[in-house]
Structures are given as C-alpha cells and as structure tokens.
Amino acid sequence: MDLKLNVWRQSGPDDPGRFESYEAKDISPDMSFLEMLDVVNERLLEEDGDPIAFDHDCREGICGSCGMMIDGVPHGPKSMTTVCQLHMRSFEDGDELTLEPFRASSFPVLKDLYVDRTPFDTIIASGGYISVRTGSAKEANSEPVRKRDADAAFDAAACIGCAACVAACPNASAMLFTASKVAHLAHLPQGQTERYSRVLDMIDTHDSEGFGNCTNHGACENACPKGISVDYIAQLNRDLFKATVTAQPEPARG
C-alpha cells in the first residue's frame, strides 16, 4: 500500500517547527506503524535526507517510550493499542496521515516527534512510592490482601507512563497518570500510612510541573492504551479532599 505522511519536523526545542510531506510507498499491511516509519527513514537516509526522530524501544506496548498523534489521536485509531503495536492493516491504501508529537507545554519537543516526559518522574519522586528500605520488609504472606483490592491496585498500576492522557486532554492535565499511581498504592494495606500525604505531595508537583487541571472531559481514558479508568481520578479527588480537610500536615520528607 502507498500512503502520504504529513510529519511535524522540528530540529530542536527552540525551532518553531513545520509540517513536511513524505511518500510511504510499497508498505506491507503486516508492518507495524513504527516499522513503516523505519522504512521511510531508511529511504530518507539513502537519499541524503534527515530521518524522522521518534522515541521507541520495546515495541511490545509495555515500555511506554513510543507515542505520537496520528490525525490528532494519541497512538492512532486502534483503541487500547500503543503506536508500536498498531499495524498498517488498520489503514487503507492511499490514506493521508498527519503525524505530530504529544503536545503539552510541560513536554518540550526534543526533535520531530520526540518529546521530553521527565516531569512524570518528578511527580513519582514527590510521593509515588511506599517508603520501605531494602531489608526492612516483613514476611510477604503475613498480611493478606483481598483479591479485589489487589486486582484494583493492579488495574491502576498497569499505567505505562506514555503520556497519551496528557496529549489527549484539552487542559494538558496529567491527572490520569497521577491518579493511577495514587490509586494503585491507596488500594493496598501497605500504602495506607502515607496515603494522604502522598496525594497532597503528588498533586502539588503535578501543578508545579505545569500540567493543567482536570475538568472531566474523559478524553484521557479514551486515549489510554492500557484502559486506565477515569474512576481513579474520582478516587484521587476523594482522597485529596479528605487530605486537605482532615489530614495533619506531615513533617518534611527526607
């Protein structure tokens, strides 16, 4: 199949950027979307062109490295699928596609479709963990966890940190990302001690990193390749409300 690609090209964070068009000819429907871009890049290289930069790694939909907007949709048209797992059989011969990076002011474009998502690490560092030193853990089976709590924790913990939720949100909010970690740990008995300080700290950091607020559009859930539910945002809001109203201020972490 043959396609036309309109691709966002930007040489670095300070370049204003522009769209450029490329032909993708003789593409096999069995290729993954990124393999199609590999082919386009290899041809560009042979013709002295500049290959299109995009981040990727595992190509199995689990590392969270890849992600781009295809015709304005994060990770493209197939639901619950990262762009590395999207295959060309999802498109028609002759399609014209527009490729853009995940856009949010908190994520500077490093090059073309490649953005910097370091603020996600900063959010986790501000409280997205249970404070347990290596060696100080108790016997693993000494505390049973109800299966439904363990399953709910897992559903939230399935987040791969790809940032599709931020790209989909009209406010560029990272609330689904933050809520998934808050909910994962809040569902487990081990996570209770720091439950309310955690949500306060993580939301503080979320805001100071420049992400917008959640106004319940739900676009994030639609875009999430792992199907993380917006219900977790509701849970975060409940914990946040409770923490704000009732929690004693914690002494500074360290």
Partner: protein, 637 residues
Amino acid sequence: MELNARIPDGPVEKKWENHRFEMKLVNPANKRKYDVIVVGTGLAGASAAATMGELGYNVQAFTHHESPRRAHSIAAQGGINAAKNYQNDGDSVYRLFYDTVKGGDFRSREANVYRLAEVSLNIIDQAVAQGVPFAREYGGLLANRSFGGAQVSRTFYARGQTGQQLLLGAYQALERQVKAGKVTMHASKEMLDVVVIDGVARGIVTRDLRTGKIERHAADAVVLCTGGYSNVFFLSTNAQKCNVTATWRAHKRGAGFANPCFTQIHPTCIPPSGEYQSKLTLMSESLRNDGRIWVPKDPEDKRKGNDIPEDERDYYLERLYPSFGNLTPRDIASRRAKEMVDKGHGVGPLENGVFLDFKHAIERLGKDTVAERYGNLFEMYERITGEDPYERPMRIFPAPHYTMGGLWVDYDLMTTVPGLFAAGEANFSDHGANRLGASALMQGLADGYFVVPLTIGNYLADVTPGTVDTTHAAFSDVERDVTDRQNRLLGSDGSRSAASFHRELGGIMWEHCGMVRTEEGLRTALQRIPELREQFWNEVRVPGTGEGLNPELEQAGRVADFLEFAEVMCWDALTRDESCGAHYRPEHVTDEGEAKRDDENFSHAAVWEFTGVGEEPVRHTEELEFPNVPPSQRSYK
C-alpha cells in the same frame, strides 16, 4: 588475567552468612564520602542504586533512556521464582539451588547460585512491601504457579506483566532516593567508556543524548547493570535499544568476558513477516501447557492448517518425547522447530514457523476456559498477525531472548577490573549454559537489592574516597577516544544505514552462532564478521552532527560495538568443543540427539581477554566444581 572467584569457605549453605560477617564494613558516617556510579536502571540497576542510596552512599545513576522506568526489564512477562514453599509442595532453598545448577547444565558457579536461591525469599518480601500487586488467591494470600517445567509451584506473577510491576517497584524506590538527594539521576546519558587508572575503575565517560555533550564522571566504584546482548542477532525479543556497548567497552578496558556463546533462544515467538521486521515478540511459554505443536508431514503440503487432516500432521514433540511432549525444555523445543523448518516443513507465508494449535484444547476445555487462560496472549497475537488463534492454529518460531554469558565476576560481583562491578544479566555467574524460566527477574533483584550494596562495602572499605577527579589525564584520554570514534562515524561518507549492517550481522550470527553451531559455520562467521565491520566503517551513513538528539548516531555506535563483540562470541562457541545447555554443537550429541557435555575438558567458565579489534582474544578458564549437585545427563524422553 587473574581469575580468583574468592568463594568463601564453609559448606554451601553457610557461605553467604559467613561472608556477610567477614566482609569489611564502611562506617555509616563515612558512607556519604563515597561516590558510586550505577549504569543502567533496569531491575538490577534501579534496585542497586536505590539500596546504596538508602545505605548512605552518593549514587550517580545513568540510563540512556529518557526515564529509568523504560528499561527492558519492564517487558518480562512470566514471573519470578522464590523458594517460599507457600504451596507446601516440597520446595526449599536447596531445591531451587539444585534446579538452577542442573538447569544451567553444570556450567554455573555453585556458591553464587546458592546465594541467589537464599535471597529469593527476601525479594518477594521486599516487593510486596513496596506495593507490587502480585496475583493473589481469594483468601488474600499470594498465588503461585509452576513455570518452565519446574515440578514445584514457586513462581510469583503479576498477570503477564511481572517485569513491569517489579521494575516500577524498584523505580519508585529509586525516585524516592532521588527526592532524598542520595541518588542523582542522569537520564538520557549513554555510557560510552570506563575510565581505568592504574588498573582500577575510576569513572565513566558518557554522551548526553539530548545535547550531545560528552561528559566525564569520576567515582570510587562503578557498577554496570546494562543487561544482555541478544540484539547481536538483530532480530530478538529484546527492546530496540538493548546493546552490548557498556560491557564491551569495559571488556576492552580489561574486564574479562565470560561464556559469551551462552545465549538462550525462546521457543514461542511470532515468526518474522518480512524484511522490514524490527523485532520479534515473545508469547508466554505457558501456551505450551495446552497448545499442541505440529507441522504438515509432507513438506509440499501448502494447505491451510485447518484443512490438513489429523493423520497428515506430525506432532513431532509428542512423537519424539512421549513423556514431556510439548513441554520439553526451551532449548530442545527450539532446536526441533528449527530442524522442522530447515527440512522444509515450515508453515505460514514465509514458511518460517511451526503450528501451535489450540483446537484440541478448545474441544476439551471449552472456549471460555481457553480464553481465561490465554485470552490476552491470543489478543496480542491477533493484533500482530491479523489471525485469530481461536479459529486457526498460531504460528510460532524460536527467537533470541536472553544471554547467560556476560562480564566475569567474582563472588562479590566484581569484574577482573578492581572497582568495576557487574550485576543482573550483564554478568555471567548464575545461569550457566541455560537459564530457567522466571529466574532472570530473580537474579536482577537479588544482585541489586541484596548482593552488590553489601559487597561493594567490602571493596570500598579499603579505598580512600575521592582520590581521583575528572581532571586526571586518563579522563582526557578516554574522552578523546570516545570523541574520535564518534567523529569517525559522523565523517564516514557512505550511503547505508547502520540498521542495514546490523541486519546483516544478525543474519550471520543467527545462521552460524545461533541455535546450532558447527565448526565450519563458526569459521565462516569469523571470516565474514571482520569483512562486514570494514564495510561498515567505509559505507555507513550517519546523518546530522554530534550536537543534540541524533538517534542514528546512537544506533551506529551500538552496531559498531556489536560488530566487534560478535567475533568473541564465535571464538567462544568454536573453542567450547562440546554441547551444553543452550550451546549446541552437532558434533557432540548423545545417542538420543541431545546436547552432550564434556565434563572432563569443559567443566569451566571460559573467560576472554581482549587483545585488539580483529585479533584473536586470549581464552582463560575458571574451573567449576560441583560438590553439592553431582553432574548428570538430562533426559526428557
């Protein structure tokens, strides 16, 4: 090259305990005076960096990824072993130790393996305390399953995403130390060389992948947790950025490389669909519990799987191994599949796979039960191939998956370069010639949480902190080497992509140093690799400059290292003139056609010393002894 494994005295079950008592300690008030560099943030690296930060060392952590959470440990599916014996099925530390030594076909070091089995207990406790959502039973206790042919249920799992959840646990512990100021995170910085001064590791040189800046970093010790080298085959189940660069550059600076030819091939992956294929996707081995593997009896039979009647199918594993059938170990299942394809029985558009058929399982168990057990895997398969495994047999083929070889380390996980440690898949010590399923996650976390943070103190106690800084002439020399190499890549005025050379190298390695290695094939490879390397340096095209983000430059550097490393892998396979575990030389087989060890001549780890690019390396050996697990011949008939 001196190979002193420094195995502690005493019976195997007391060695680690005795050693922990005998090791020198660094006073808590002094720990903050020591700088430790950790390269890589997968399971081994993230857990080591977090734990050493908690202990009080100043840790500098490096990853070439944009975030430490992207490391390839994240993709591990199956599970993690631990000798908890929660099922009361007769498991014990000793049994896990025994199984691992035997599974490694008697080419690992007993003392290290025993310690691994011992600390496996602590790993599960640690992970659960961190909030890792392992699968649980309805009563709320942790669930286990049997995995990879083990006769006890000792595998802990988190759906098919065990690696992801364990890595996120370690990553979160790491980020906690970042926040506490004990770990400095250097993301998007790729280690390009080790700095060795007077025979001792003193730091590294990196490239900032965002700015292109070449930087020097000094420390009192360096820990490499940089994973394996399966991508030498180009097509493997590893992530695209997995590479040999860090361990290879350490090898070039004096670290012995042990058993590079011990590479594991996973039997159940999706076959390539064309030339453009960039990686192979693993499907969990659990599929073999209910799926039946077969090929058409007649190589000319081009009908669809469903149209081929029962009596014209060859269920070859069931035929050859009546008692284990489709559950024969990984290496046997892989080799037999290749044999069938080589004989012309391959199925699919490129005739490069064998069938894995669930028709009988669906008849026996019903579609719902099959969906419950394998639904997510079937979905993954359909997403990639466009074929529905409920309706037609899946196609599978083996793919490179894990590398047992790695930097040689002593009992303390220190390489032959003092001050340079290696942990996780990057070292060689625990899996011998073949790794058991669900043991890679165990080893990464054992090394990172419980071994290196302690043994590094034993080394640092004799080191005066901060004696060398980055103004030392050795740093300038290494930086110049790194810069020169980069300029050479950028200056080459060819027209071929680095990926195209990588693909070609992978073809040579898969053909001659993959599942089956013959003397003739290995000699062919040893002739072709240097030719390809020369061609690479003349004909590669690396666009752009060294400034700023340049993925093509990153890739070209990694391919250049694979092109050097591939040779020592072939030398190792050639000189190990026996078959053992995953290393299969058809000259050495039992009457039943299985790998035949030669314990008299090869009961050792082969450790290679670098002598120059394209020069024949020097082979040293560490003799291995098995006082606790007497060597025996495997049989799965």
